[in-house]
């Protein structure tokens, strides 16, 4: 593991293998919370935070509990449990200790419990045989990729509101078309190789 590995993991998570646009994980909050730019930023930040934490915890649970007990096939169930408990705990902790951050993240924090991007990053960490630091970096940068995607998408959706699209395209249809086009645009990064 070197700094180049970490950089290539980051670049992959943010651009080439963006969680939303090329792995299609976490689509529901991506479509649900992208109507306004500021809520999109809040959601993106919360997801980044939880993905980083979840990567660390699930890695530990996998390494020190599931592997020694030969229960790897229970990963999905165990990780859901870990993530749900973790999010709940973080919410309580923030409410008491950092109320400002708690109100800023608001309703997004509990919503993230069921975000498949978070479960996805936990499972991908294991699949890719990442170590602890690599896992955490992958989690945080994966979250940043989500943040980038949802912020770009929210900005486009805000502008699209003023466009005169055909009646049948109003609202979600045009948003889905936009999401598809943005995914196509992100495909342009797929050949990107720096190291």
């Amino acid at each position: 593991m070197s700094i180049t590995t970490l950089l290539s993991i980051s670049l992959g998570a943010i651009l080439t293998n963006n969680f939303i646009f090329s792995q299609f994980l976490g689509i529901c909050p991506f479509l649900g919370v992208s109507k306004k730019l500021d809520t999109a930023v809040g959601m993106g930040a919360a997801v980044t935070f939880v993905m980083g934490l979840a990567s660390a915890f699930t890695w530990a649970v996998n390494k020190f509990l599931l592997v020694p007990m030969e229960l790897e096939y229970m990963q999905t169930v165990a990780f859901i449990l870990v993530i749900a408990a973790l999010v709940q705990f973080v919410e309580m902790f923030l409410k008491k200790s950092i109320p400002a951050l708690y109100t800023a993240l608001g309703v997004y924090l509990p919503l993230i419990t069921t975000n498949c991007a978070v479960l996805g990053v936990a499972l991908l960490n294991i699949q890719n045989n990442y170590g602890f630091i690599e896992s955490v970096v992958y989690g945080i940068t994966g979250g940043l990729g989500f943040l980038l995607a949802i912020v770009l998408f929210a900005a486009v959706r805000e502008s699209i509101q003023f466009a005169e699209n055909p009646k049948c395209f109003d609202g979600f249809p045009i948003a889905l078309v936009t999401a598809g086009l943005m995914a196509l645009a992100f495909m342009g990064f797929s050949g990107l190789k720096v190291w």
Binding site: M69, L71, V77, A78, L81, M92, S97
Partner: protein
């Protein structure tokens, strides 16, 4: 055997998490005033922002802190204000229900300076050479207020200007804050006569830009028996404390700038009545003069 092992391990994991969460819930407990959810329950729940606080939760907190009055939520109405007052242990101040009113009836009657083909939004339209209307005060009719209304109370009327449906309006005034021309004002719901123009130009200048503009001629002011309408800054303004809704002003307005607009028939009828009254008064005065003359 393997299955039992998996169940035990996962069960133990869940139990540990459950215990941690239970302890955390006690350790990190934040006491919430029990009145807060009760107040939140009474509010309209539309998160319209009309009260000036961030959403209904923000408004409930402000009421609880005593920063906002108990009737801060206009959409919830007087009934909810009473309930909140009961929760807070104070007397409810009952105000007359109000609704929004668009002070423009011009729309397509207003002259256009150019054909605007940009983004379909009033705020965007005012950015292009100060808007496509000759009238610097009138409703542009692109419906930014219609989009802002969460209660479906606003529509673009048949003549191209926005119209409020007083039955649906909850007085949240979200529309007023987005109107780039500041045309939307709060009026008492019970009053029906309003000046449907905000043009502050005088005389000819106002006359040229729109066929429905108030030119500040003051006929309504002279006609009003209750001293309830006055020309201020070149436009007629109704004093709702004095207005009784007799609609005399609508019948004398030469520009049809006071709503409800009187029909030509009503105007003629009123003119005839006035003429008859004037003649009668003249005759009476003459008779009186004739009576007094010989006495001298």
């Amino acid at each position: 055997m393997n299955i039992v092992f998996a169940v035990v391990v996962l069960g133990a994991l869940a139990l540990v998490f459950g215990l941690v969460l239970a302890i955390a819930a006690k350790v990190f407990e934040v006491k919430v005033d029990p009145r807060l959810p009760e107040i939140t329950e009474c509010l309209a729940g539309a998160n319209c922002g009309g009260c000036g606080y961030p959403g209904c939760a923000g408004c409930a907190e402000a009421i609880l802190a005593g920063k906002a009055p108990v009737n801060a939520c206009a959409p919830a109405g007087a009934e909810a204000a009473k309930k909140i007052a009961a929760i807070m242990g104070v007397e409810a101040v009952e105000g007359e229900p109000k609704v929004a009113y668009v002070r423009c009836n011009g729309g397509t009657n207003a002259k256009k300076r150019f054909e605007y083909r940009g983004v379909n939004d009033c705020i965007a339209a005012t950015k292009v050479a100060a808007g496509p209307l000759d009238c610097a005060f009138g409703c542009l009719g692109f419906g930014t207020c219609v989009k802002a209304c969460q209660f479906g109370a606003l529509t673009i009327g048949p003549n191209g200007a926005a119209v409020v449906d007083p039955e649906k309006c909850t007085d949240c005034m979200a529309c007023a804050s987005v109107c780039p021309r500041h045309l939307i004002v709060e009026v008492p719901k019970s009053k029906k006569v309003h000046v449907a123009c905000a043009n502050q130009d005088k005389g000819k200048a106002a006359m040229e830009v729109c066929s429905n503009s108030c030119i500040g001629c003051g006929l309504c002011q002279k006609e009003c028996k209750k001293d309830a309408i006055h020309v201020e800054n070149g436009v007629a303004v109704i004093d709702y404390d004095k207005c009784v809704g007799c609609k005399l002003c609508t019948k004398v307005c030469p520009r049809d700038a006071i709503s409800p607009v009187a029909t030509a028939e009503e105007k003629e009828k009123y003119k005839a009545i006035k003429k008859a009254q004037a003649e009668k008064a003249k005759a009476a005065a003459e008779a009186k003069a004739a009576e007094e003359a010989p006495a001298k």
